[in-house]
Point group: D2
Chain length 381, copies 4
């Protein structure tokens, strides 16, 4: 899992990311013989980065430019870490002391919706948008021709219709879509419901780990189980994970409950999203205890400014921890959602991805040098 | 994980379960030398059922008597399955064809809150109760002397004060508590924040698996890390899972998003609890495809009634699947909570716990005989 | 695996261990309905130490009193380590810095041989003994009434016959027997060939880990597959390991080939036993690099003696490493036995059983204090 | 592990394989700064098949042309199976019903020996050859200019000297070499002793699984630990396996002891190689029970011939099982080598690599169609 992940182009200044380019898709691919009600079986045989582009990014968006689950907690000064891919491993110049095996997977894979299903999506999401009209960031995205990338050979009126009615591919839905499930990785077998003749499979948003290689090659093969939607009661895809997902048996687990104790302390009613956020913020706080702040080698004119610099850096280490959770093979479990009012969610960090021991010790945590991550350089930092 | 779990006494009629007896606790145990701000390290060395009571229960509560996450979906005609414990395994006469290794753990373990922390709890939960004054089931439980089991030797006024001010132990909170985390199992090492002198550790609600043995023996040892709350930024306990948690590598994974498509179809905004529910309901629907309905050997007077009987039985198989998810070592991951508006949550069922192959097949699913689970016998069913 | 394990009584002086008491058995238990040619299915449901005796031993025998695979390498001054059992874990006052989860299992479990099979055993082992008439330790053990523990109620002539003809239970054979397979652990399902009416299952030599708790309780249940010997081509038992065998994903692996480079340097022809020994001796040499020698707090009269003392202690640390390999969940794989003349065998040590980091580091290995293990105190050491 | 593997060119007739071409090596590569006594750290970052040659072979050699561990048991009519590689998986037209994730690794990787070490090798292996002068197949291979492939640019006298003195690369030795250890796979970190300036690392014999892709690309990086041979007591390389080795938790385990009960019944003295062979032959016998014989669609002239044909086919199914063990991620453990006279070795087959259930069942084993494997077609079969 990672809820934290987002990705943007490799520009030096991360303020101006064009969200419409966040993920590229290939498809749709029609599978001969697939009919509505069938089940499309997809074997994800491999996902590899482009040989000549062995790197990826993890990023934090500005609140006004996409945001993210922690947009408010991090007040989102946009920020990123670059990951270098070495064979099966990723490491980052921006988050030293960490190396992990990738769980390479398509962030987005899914069949095409029928006209009826598409109408359902637009209606229910439209109602949500209406109910939160001025939300920043927006709660959902209505069909919008701007930035809609569709087939180049289509007649203009068809392209226009798609832009006006087609669902944006940001969220996952009943057909699969942008679910960003890390365990839907190379080696997995997935079972998709078929809604239209030919199934029309699309795939993209390839991740090396949950952090994003964004560009790469996926190999899959397909087969069809006739009438599979009924046979398997498919409301949404199901899948069998890969036998080669990385195995790190030792984990350090953080808990969270549905009380926003990292924020205003409010009690929520069995809210697993709030509980997830606390678990992640607990993990980030822990990792900050295990990181040494780097003082920038910039001479400034006053003591006051140096203090401010230090404080800002503290924020940086926090952002590095956040970026790490976005990219590494951490796991978040829904522990309990029955004991009112507190849902309990856990987040497990594999200790084997660190060069050094990060386990709790009598003497406290060994400070790791997490270096300095790349941030916007608008004259202040 | 299981959000579905709940437990009650082994009476034949499950309508009258006394919720105040849902879990028994031992403690508090004072640990010499522990001071507020320290970290209490607890090694859970073993959790075993009572030798002479090798069984447990999983149940579904009535909506009006506790309910549960799926209280409305199941319209909660109370229902239970009895699990027989054979060494490391559990199996149930009520859910044939299934055997799994237990992940034995305390559902509840935690240190005592300070007076300040207790006041915070009561205040924030009180506000939630006020905001949902007439909810059925209630959204939270205020302090209440009725059914408060406290030390027998205390003076009356102290007992009275505890009943009036003590937090009920139903939800987990910052001290740990009733988090029902299955991986906090025998062999785990846990790190608790200490809020009062002596730490005052309590433990109980022992589960064999997430389904409940309720009664059994836990062995642990404790040590103290001075100043651990600051050293490890502890807002809530952290832990290291056991090396002997059952390993079933092959899993069948179900997805869910934050749309209530099993209910009224409403779109929620990044709500992981709703997404969890859809994943669980998808799994239950799948398991129902893999179960054969049992026709009761009861002669009734009319055709109409027989049809009704069949329909009711279909509900029974559904309840068996629900009970199974409550007890078996299934895992629910928070897949993604960043792609607005849909959180994506997965639920993974280990296929190795079934006697028969439950994987999706061209020919559909092999029907397992799930038998008949125990329900109330009030003259109708 | 452990080839190194052996066990003896808890006497202070380990020179006089009576080898005939090395393992105690329970049985034979007849299973109703089992006939020759059937397959007896045994579910090992649990193996637990006696509640009041939560400890075990690992030992090294004298060359003249049983010896062992490394009898010559260690010149076998008898030596032992005591393991204290804490729930699922074992640790030893004699090998500090180590704690591991047990893989509790019966060292010996098997059905009774038929008269013909017994005759085959006695004949083939007799031929081996004849061919190595004066070997020390002996290469095998012929039937011998001395120390043969059989049912108390048998007529004298039957007891005598058993003593004279019954195979000693030291080695494993086609019926199972003393195979000391650590993964035949609690939770395993085993399939035994049946040679006599009733199968006559015996079990004993219970180990907490491969090191020995020797005494404890095993729970199992049996069923029969008619004609299973033919159905499954059973020449020897087969089994399915337990889902709760300890999982330590990070391992440090040592290699060995069939050259006795720790001894006289001789080249053997594809000999996996020699290769195993080199891998184990490589692991022991590594662990010695990670251990600090303890200087005994004994005042002696001359410098010369002190030097000798140090050298002897070095030997002690080596014996501690040897004892550790005997008890911990290490794994030895047959890597290759095709590339003449060198078989290649590996031995993997789970790093997670150590308190400290034992991985290879630029700065060399951190020295662990392995303390002092218990040895005979005959005036010299 | 697999002891069974060997590989040859994709010719239709497998009788004439040139053993000197069994594995191709790249190297030696000098690493700047490496000195004798240092430790060379090699990260195996990835091993992938050639993009345009996604296939490999597993074969059985003729007794007179290389043989193998089972040369006599199989009377070695040379035989092969072709594996098609689909992303992370391999399957074979010759062994239907099986698909497994590869454990891609270099069969051969090692540093160069010093002149002294080379002399030791030649001396000790020469002694073995002398002691078994007329063995078929030979027990070892002395230096031999025929088929020695060395650098093209070397002066003739150097090339001649290498051919006359250089050790053949068939067996693994103290420097690593052709150890064929499947878990030395992509993602592993290995520590090699350095014997000469520059270390001179060679690598080759790339396997997709233990069966052989033979040709492919390996990516690694190196670093040096000064004085590592002494620091880590390196007699032979040590390594840390990859976190992405395939995980199949359910296994069916076969046992073997050091009695040749599949042959002449002789008792060996604690011989793990003999025990390994029995375990493998037990597994093969079991798999034959799970395979359906294919009757060739060839019309022959007499009944007698048809019977012979059937018998020969039975042999074929046995060879398919043998080839499968050579290629799939099976594991062989040294269970016990202390209980004289029987070493106990186990061989575990992951059940998840089969399309169908191969577990022991009351009703016997479901017959899988293992088809027909490719054999020589010299007029007889």
């Amino acid at each position: 899992m990672t809820v934290l992940s987002s990705i943007f182009a490799a520009s030096d200044d991360v303020r101006d990311v064009d969200l419409s380019k966040v993920h590229n898709l290939s498809g749709p691919v029609a599978v001969e013989g697939a009919e509505p009600g069938d089940c499309l079986v997809v074997d994800i045989l491999d996902v590899v980065p482009f040989e000549k582009m062995p790197w990826g990014y993890t990023g934090i968006f500005e609140l006004e430019n996409g945001g993210g689950l922690f947009a408010r907690e991090f007040k989102s000064r946009a920020c990123k870490a670059i990951w270098d891919i070495h064979g099966i491993y990723a490491s980052s110049r921006h988050i030293p002391g960490v190396r992990f095996a990738g769980v390479s997977h398509p962030g987005l894979i899914g069949t095409a919706p029928s006209a009826e299903l598409l109408a359902t999506w637009n209606k229910r999401e439209g109602a949500l948008i209406e109910a939160h009209a001025n939300a920043v960031p927006p709660v959902a995205f209505a069909p919008n021709p701007t930035g809609a990338h569709v087939g180049q050979d289509l007649p203009d009126d068809v392209r226009e219709k798609i832009g006006k009615e087609g669902a944006r591919t940001i969220p996952g839905r009943e057909h699969g879509g942008n679910c960003d499930i890390k365990n839907l990785s190379r080696g997995s077998r997935c079972y998709f419901p078929v809604f239209v003749k030919g199934a029309n499979l699309s795939v993209g948003d390839l991740h090396f780990s949950q952090g994003d290689g964004e560009a790469g090659i996926i190999t899959f093969k397909t087969s069809i189980i006739k009438g599979g939607v009924e046979k398997f009661a498919l409301k949404q895809p199901i899948f069998v994970p890969s036998p080669i997902d990385p195995l790190y048996s030792q984990k350090l687990v953080f808990e969270g409950i549905s009380v926003d104790y990292h924020g205003d302390g409010k009690q929520y009613n069995m809210d697993a999203t709030v509980a997830y956020k606390q678990a992640a913020l607990n993990a980030i706080a822990y990792l900050m205890k295990a990181s040494r702040l780097v003082v920038l080698a910039i001479v400034r004119k006053s003591i006051r400014f140096c203090l401010e610099l230090t404080i800002k850096h503290m924020r940086l280490a926090r952002e590095q921890a956040y970026l790490l959770l976005s990219a590494a093979p951490v796991e978040s479990h829904v522990g309990a959602v029955v004991d009112s009012p507190n849902a309990c969610v856990t987040l497990a960090i594999p200790t084997g991805i660190f060069d050094h021991d990060i386990m709790p010790k009598e003497e406290g945590l060994k400070k790791l040098d997490f270096g300095q991550c790349a941030i916007r350089s608008d004259g202040v930092l």
